[in-house]
Amino acid sequence: MRRGIAATALVAALGVTLAACGSDSGSKDGGAKGSGELSGTVTWWDTSTVGSEDKVFKKVAEDFKKKHPKVTVKYVNVPFGEAQNKFKNAAQSGSGAPDVIRSEVAWTPEFADLGYLAPLDGTPALKNSEDFLKQAAASTHYKGKTYGVPQVIDSMGIFYNKKIFKEAGVEVPKTIDELKTVSAKIKQKTGKPGLYLRGDDAYWFLSFLYGEGGDLVDAEKKTVTVDNAAGVKGFKVVKDLVDSGAAKTDATDGWNNMQTAFKDGKVAMMINGPWAVSDTYAGKEFTDKANLGIAPVPAGSAGQGAPQGGHNLAVYAGSKNLDASYAFAEYMTSAETQATVAKELSLLPTRESVYIKPDVATNEMITFFKPVVDKAVERPWIPETGSLFAPLVTEYTKVLTGQTTPDAGAKATGDAYRKLLKDWK
C-alpha cells in the first residue's frame, strides 16, 4: 500500500514539475511602453523554405538586436503548409500566437477579417510606405485599414533547362500552342516530357485560367466567374496539355516531384516562382546557374497572365509587445533588409528603391521577374480569397485525373464559391 501511494505521488509530482518547467509559449514579457527604449521578446513565425531560405531570414531577423539591443527576436520557422492553421489555432485561443507572422498575401485579408491582426496605420511599421510597389501593398488593405507590411512579391514564369532545349533544338514557347509543339519535339528528341504541371495545387492552374481570359471571381460585380465560358476553357487547356502528353502531372507530392524532376533534368520545363530559385540552383543540372532559363508563362487565347503573390509581415492583435513588433516589421521590410534578402535569395523586393541598388539591379532572376510582376494578375483581396483554393484544387485534380469533365469541374467549383460568397451571382 505504501509503495502504491509513493508511486501515485511520484506521478503527480512529475506532472507538476513538468507543468512548471515547460517553456513559455510566445513572448509574454511585455515590452517597454511609451517613448522608452524597446525591450522584451518578439516572436516571429517565418514560413520560408527550410534548408535554403530559412537560414538567411533567421540571421537577418536576429540582427534586429543590433539596432535594439534589449529586444530578443525569437525566430520560429513554421512550414508554409501548416502556418495558416497554426496561426488560426493560436490566434483565436489567445495563447501561443507569435507577435509577428509572415502572412501570405491571401491570408492577410482573411486574418484581418477574423480580427487577428493589429491595424498598422500610423505606427512605425509603415515607415516610408510610399516606397512600396502599389501591387505589393494592395493585399495589406482591408476595410480602409492596413494590416500588413509587404515583405516580398512574386509571380510565376516558365523555368526551363537550356541544355535540354538546345539538345531538342527548340525555342522557348510563347503560347500554349507553341508549348505543345515544343513539348512534342522535346519528347521526340530526348524522350523527356516537356512541361511539369503540378496537379495538386490550383495555384499552378491560375496562369492557364488567366490566359483564357478567365478569373476566379469578379469582386466588383460580385460575380463568380470560374465557371463561365473562359473558366471552362481554362480547365480544358490544362486537361488537353496532360492528355496530349505535352505536360506531365502528379496528384500527390506535386511540389517535391516537380522539383526533383526538374533539378535532375528529367523534365524540360516547369512553371514556378522566385521562391523556387534557391532550391532549383541546388539541383545537379544547375550547378552551372546559367543553365536555368526563365521566360514568361505561355499566353493563352486571350493573352498572357500570371498570378501575383507574395508575403506580408503582419502583427498579431493580441501581441503583448506591439511596439517592438511594429519596429521589427519595419526593420524586416526596410530597403536595407530587402536588399540583403534579394541578393542572397533572389526574392523580389517590395520597395521601388531596392530595385535600383547595384546588387539587385544585376540579379538575373530579379530583373526577369520584375516586369512579370508588373503585369501579373492581382487577385481580389477579399477575406474569402484564401478560401477559393480548397474547392478549386479538388476539382482541378479531378479534371486532370479524369474523374470529372472540365465543364462539370468548373461548374462544381462555381457552386462551391456561391455557397461561400453568399448573395454573389
Binding site: 495558416q84 492553421n85 488560426k88 490566434a91 483565436q92 485561443s93 489567445g94 482573411e110 477579417d113 477574423l114 480580427g115 487577428y116 496537379g199 495538386d200 502531372t249 502528379d250 496528384a251 500527390t252 507530392d253 516531384n257 526533383t260 524532376a261 528529367k266 498579431y316 492583435a317 493580441g318 501581441s319 503583448k320 484564401g386 478560401s387 480548397a390 479538388t394 476539382e395 485534380t397 479531378k398 486532370l400 485525373t401 474523374q403 470529372t404
Partner: protein, 337 residues
Amino acid sequence: MAVDTPSQSVVKAAGDSVARGRSRGTGKPRGAAKRSLSTHWYAWAMVAPVTVVIAVIIGYPLVRGIYLSLTDANERNVARSIGVNEIPATYEFVGLDNYADALTGSQFLSTLGWTLLWTVSCVSVTFALGLTLANILNRRIAGRSFYRLLLILPWAVPGFVSVFAWRFLYNQDNGLLNKILAGGGIDAVPWLNDPTWAKFSVILVNVWLGVPFMMVALLGGLQSIPGELYEAAEMDGASAWQRFKHITMPGLSSVSTTVILLSTIWTFNMFPVIFLLTRGGPGEATQILVTQAYKFSFEVSPRDFAQSSTWGVLILVLLMLFAAVYRRVLRKQGEVW
C-alpha cells in the same frame, strides 16, 4: 465485453450479471450491501484518473461538438480571444438543418460509401491474413520466433515513418515499386495519382499496418486452445479442415469478435494513413468521413465547425449503431459479449 471464464468465482459471475443485463441503471447492488460503500470508495478512486481525463479532454469537446452541430458555427462567428479583445460568439441555433443537409446531400453519402468499402476491405483482408499467419506461426516450424519478430515489425515502427516509407515506394517516377515493375516490363502504375489505384494503395498500406495486431491477438487466441483437443480430433481421424472448422474457429470466436469490433472502429476512423498518404486525394477519391470532417474544420476557410461536428456526430452514431447491431447478432448466435 464481459466474458466470464469458468475460473471466476460464483460471486463474481453473479455480480457481472448486473453489468451484463440490459438494465441501463447504474446497478443498485442487489445484496452484499454491507461491503459496498468501502468497495465503491476504492473502485471510484481507482477509476477516477481515467474518468477525469476522459471527461475533460473528450467529454467536454464531445458535448460541445454535439451542440455545435445544431448551430451554424464557423470560424467567423465563434468566440475568440485575441489578447485583451474578446470577440463574443454570434452563431445561431439552426436545429437539425446540418443533419438534413448532410444526409440529403451527395457528399456525405458518397464519402460514406467509400468509407464502408474501405473499412470492410481493410478489416476482412487484415483478418484473413492475420488468421493465416497466426495459424502458421502456431505450428512447430523452424525459426518461428524470428518470423514472428519480423512480422510484428510494422506495428513497432511509428505510423508516420512507415507511411513516409510507403509514399517513397509508391512515388510514380522515382518509387521502387514502379522500378521493379519496369524491370518486369510493366508500365508505371499511378499508385497515388489515379483514383482507383489510390484507393487500392491506401487499403494496402492500412492492411500492412494492421496485420500484426490481428496476428498477435489471434495467435494468443490459438495458444489458449489446448493441444489435447487437436490430438483427440486427430485420433478420431478428423481432417485438417475439420479440425480448423470445429476446434480452431470456435476457440477463436471470442478473440475474433473483439478484434473485429476494435479494428472496425479503428479503421473507420483511420485518420493518419489517409491523411499522410493522399490527404484524401486525388480529388476526393480516398477521402473517408473522418478526413473530410477534419478538412471542414481545418483546411477549408472559414473553418466550418458546424459541419465538421455534424459529420463527427454522425460517425459516432454510425459506429454505435454498428456496435449495438454487432452485439445483438452475436447474442443471437449464442455469443456472450
